[in-house]
Every structure is written in C-alpha cells, then in structure tokens.
C-alpha cells in the first residue's frame, strides 16, 4: 500500500478523482483516499477507447471484494487509452494511485473545465471536513 499523499501537480474532483493535465490531454485516476476507502481493488471496468466521457458523470467502475464504486470524470473528453496494467492487475491502483495506477488517458474537449477543479490543498481541506 502506498502512503497517503495528494501531489501538488494534480487537479482534484470532490468525488475523489484526480486529473494530470498534459497540454490538451489528461490522465485520470482515483485518489489515495478513494482507494483506501475501497480497500484492495479486484476489478476495473473501463470505458471503451474512443468513448466520449463527460465531467461529473460516470465513465466506468472499480470494485473491491465488498464494494462497487463508479468512476466520476473530473473532465470531459474522448478516451484515447485505457491502462491495461490496471485491467490485468487492479491492485496496481492501491500500490501507486497517481503513477502506474492511472486509469484512462483522454483528449480534452473542454479544457476550460480544469478551472473548476480543486488544487491539492483545497482537496485535502475537503477530506478534513468529511
């Protein structure tokens, strides 16, 4: 298990998802808090490559032994890659939620949406208030 961290270079959604914005693309994943709450992941149900996903809407699911959790997209765009390593070994998300445990790469359709996401400090404050 990874130690609890919330990297400064990421942007966060209040549903415990993160985005690593790289030009007009972004990697998406779930936060340390999300994977810790779920426990060891045993299934990732990804969207199809080429699918359009929408900010604040579900784009897939992750499951632990006991629970199913919808993935809420922090940004809108087209899925251009799915992390097959997580499909094959979902526990990768628990081991490295911000690195090898990324879930999908998207091409942004509304780059301006990023302005509404939280910086690490604001996301941590949200967790403290819960």
């Amino acid at each position: 298990m990874a130690a609890e961290t919330y990297p400064d270079e990421l942007r966060y959604h209040s549903e415990h998802d993160w985005a690593r914005i790289e030009g007009d693309e972004a990697l998406l994943g779930i936060t340390w808090f999300a994977q810790d709450s779920l426990g060891e992941l045993v299934h990732f149900e990804p969207p199809d490559e080429g699918a359009t996903i929408t900010k604040d809407a579900s784009y897939g699911e992750v499951e632990s032994v006991k629970a199913v959790s919808e993935l809420i997209s922090p940004l809108s765009g087209e899925v251009i890659a799915v992390n097959q390593k997580v499909v094959e070994a979902p526990e990768t998300v628990n081991e490295d939620p911000y690195g090898d445990g990324w879930l999908v790469r998207i091409r942004l359709s509304e780059p301006g949406e990023a302005d509404s996401l939280l910086a690490a400090a604001a996301y941590k404050q949200l967790l403290d208030e819960q």
Binding site: G39, V42, H43, E45, E61, E63, V65, K66
Partner: protein
C-alpha cells in the same frame, strides 16, 4: 436510529484498526488489514474471527430431543454426547427459518448455535412450539465465540486432532472454553465458546499464538469459495432445502416441520437449484443480479484463491448441471459464467 450491539472484543477490534460496520444489529469488524490478506492467512496458516454476535440457545429437559426432532431437519438420534451436527430449522412449507449447529451436551441438554440475525426469531419459534418436558433458553449474552481456522490452527493452539463436528470442554492457556471442531471456512479449525468475561483474554492468547485477526469480509469470501450457504442470501424461509442442495441434512424418514413438503419436492424434483458458478469473463457477480433464463445470483464475490468472480445462484433445474454456461446481467453488461461442482475451491484438508 437503532443502537448497535457490541461484542466483548469491540475495543480490541478498534485498537487493531478494524473497519467496523453494522451487521445483523451488531457493530462488527469487516476487515483489519484487508480482506485478501486475511483470507489467504486462513487458507495457508491460521486466522481468528470474532463471531460472538452469533446466538446460543439451550434446550433442556427429558423431552428436549423430542422437541428438537420435531423442529430440526437432521437425525438427532445419530448424535452422541460430545457430537454436533448441521441442521435446518424448517417451516410448514419446508422453507428454512435458520441453519444452525446442534451440540448434544447430554441426552437431556442441547446447545444450538444460530445466526445472529435469527437469534430472536429462532428463540420465539421454538418457545411457541415447546412441549411439556422441554425448556428453551436464550443464553447468547453469556458467551463469546471465537472461530480459529486454517491448516495450522490446531498446531498454533496446541490442540490434538479430533473428528469434525466433535466438541469437548477444555482450556487454552488456562482459560476454560468449549472446543468445537466446527467452522465456516472449509479449513481445519475450532470454534471456542467462552464465558463472556474471559473472551478478551482468550482472544489475546489466540492472537499471541499467531492467529491473524480476520473480519466478516474474509469470512464471506472463505465460505463462498467452499459453497457454504448464507442464511438471508442463499437460503431463507422462501427457499426449501432440496432446491438449495441441502437434502443431505434432511432426515426425510422423520416427521419434522415441513417434512411432507420436502418429501414431495424431492419426489417431483425441484424446479430450481442453487448452483455454484465461476465467471469466464472479468466481472464480479453480486447478490440480486439476474441470470439469463430465469435465475438470480444470491451471493457473489471475487475469489482470492481463484482470482476471479464466483457466486451462488438459483437457476432452473434443467440448467444446473456442471459445465452449463450462464449469462449474468452485471449492471446492464452480459457476462458469461460456468456452473461448477461444489465446492468452488477445495481446501487441502476438510474441516
């Protein structure tokens, strides 16, 4: 809001960092370190579960056995002192009020260990049917219960081998307890019934001897791998023992409640069967999912030993043979599974 009950080990679970959840009216540990490591510890070494939430009913009197034989599906005449058997408490239609283990303490005194959620219902059911010379008491609050399970459980506790479903008064490191060769994991092991005031000390001794604390999450994945039914999921008042594959605990030559109905279902053949299945595609079946052709998943999970989705469910009797392919509706996605022989996972040595 209903106040949740706590077992005598509650503080120890919290100190170990367990995630506590409501279960059958109790606040219970669902996991400590994680379901998968706890599951694997039980399959490869030894784990300990707090199952003090389970109910204990005592039935005493010169006609205690007569009362029980009129209510329970199994043949109590096969029990001697120090032996236990799995049995069903049945209703008039052959449905399952509860599943339990009956322990013969003496010819005139029996102990029933019952599901936590059914403790009060079972007690009332039996009290209403008491006959002169039999007395039913709920003694659940007097006892704690620890299940110590795994291929190294006996070695770690320093206990000799003994037949499955036997029990005896004994002690562990000086703490008196009843040592039952029973369990819900498919592994060797014991369930230790202890005076409630000694439960904490016994837990500490068992953990010090190397048993890994395991929660209800692992208890569920372990029992599902070996296809032990869970009352409330796989069996219940609306399901009969024959369809559930529990005909082997029904002594149909006896006249217990619902025996006529069960004889009839057996003679005609059940319309549906509780089958075990393994997913052929990546997906985790869950309780309540529809099975194509008129079936339903009653328990589903991820099997830590097989590393794939597994489950139990009712299907029409003609599609219940091992090898039959099923399609399960996983939140709108059709996913293929195959019926397999029970158990889904076979431990190296039985309980």
């Amino acid at each position: 809001m209903q106040t949740l009950l706590r077992t005598p080990l509650f503080d120890r679970h919290v100190a170990l960092g367990a995630r506590m959840v409501p279960f059958a009216g109790w606040e219970m540990p669902v996991q400590y370190e994680g379901v998968i490591p706890e599951h694997k510890a039980v399959r490869t070494d030894c784990g300990v579960f707090d199952v003090s939430h389970m109910g204990e009913l005592e039935v005493e009197g010169p006609r205690a056995q007569a009362l029980l034989q009129s209510l329970l599906s199994n043949d109590l005449e096969r029990l001697e002192d120090g032996q236990a058997q799995y049995a069903l408490l049945t209703n008039d239609s052959g449905g399952i009020v509860d599943d339990l283990i009956a322990y013969r303490l003496s010819p005139f005194r029996f102990l029933l260990i019952v599901n936590a959620a059914n403790r009060e219902g079972d007690f009332e059911w039996m009290r209403e049917r008491e006959i002169p010379g039999s007395d039913v008491r709920d003694v659940s609050d007097e006892y704690g219960l620890l299940a110590v399970q795994g291929p190294r459980a006996l070695e770690r506790l320093g206990l000799p081998e003994a037949p499955a479903f036997s029990f005896a008064e004994g002690e562990l490191d000086g703490i008196a307890c009843m040592i039952n060769r029973t369990g819900y994991t498919g592994e060797q092991g014991v369930e230790l019934m202890v005076a409630v005031e000694d439960a904490g000390d016994l837990w500490d001794r068992v953990v010090a001897r190397g048993a890994k604390p395991a929660g209800l999450g692992a208890r569920d994945t372990l029992r599902l791998e070996v296809c032990y039914p869970l009352h409330g999921n796989d069996i219940g008042p609306e399901t009969d023992a024959i369809s559930a594959g529990l005909g082997w605990v029904c002594a149909l030559d006896k006249d217990f409640t619902g025996a006529d109905e069960l004889r009839q279902i057996k003679a005609e053949g059940p319309q549906r069967r509780l089958v075990a299945f393994v997913m052929l595609e990546r997906a985790i079946p869950r309780e309540g999912m529809a099975i194509d052709g008129g079936g339903e998943v009653t328990s589903g999970t991820h099997s830590p030993m097989l590393d794939r989705g597994i489950g139990l469910g009712y299907v029409p009797a003609d599609s219940g043979a091992p090898g039959t392919e099923l399609t399960i509706d996983v939140r709108g996605r059709p996913r293929r599974a195959r019926v397999v022989k029970k158990p889904i996972y076979k431990p190296e040595e039985g309980p």
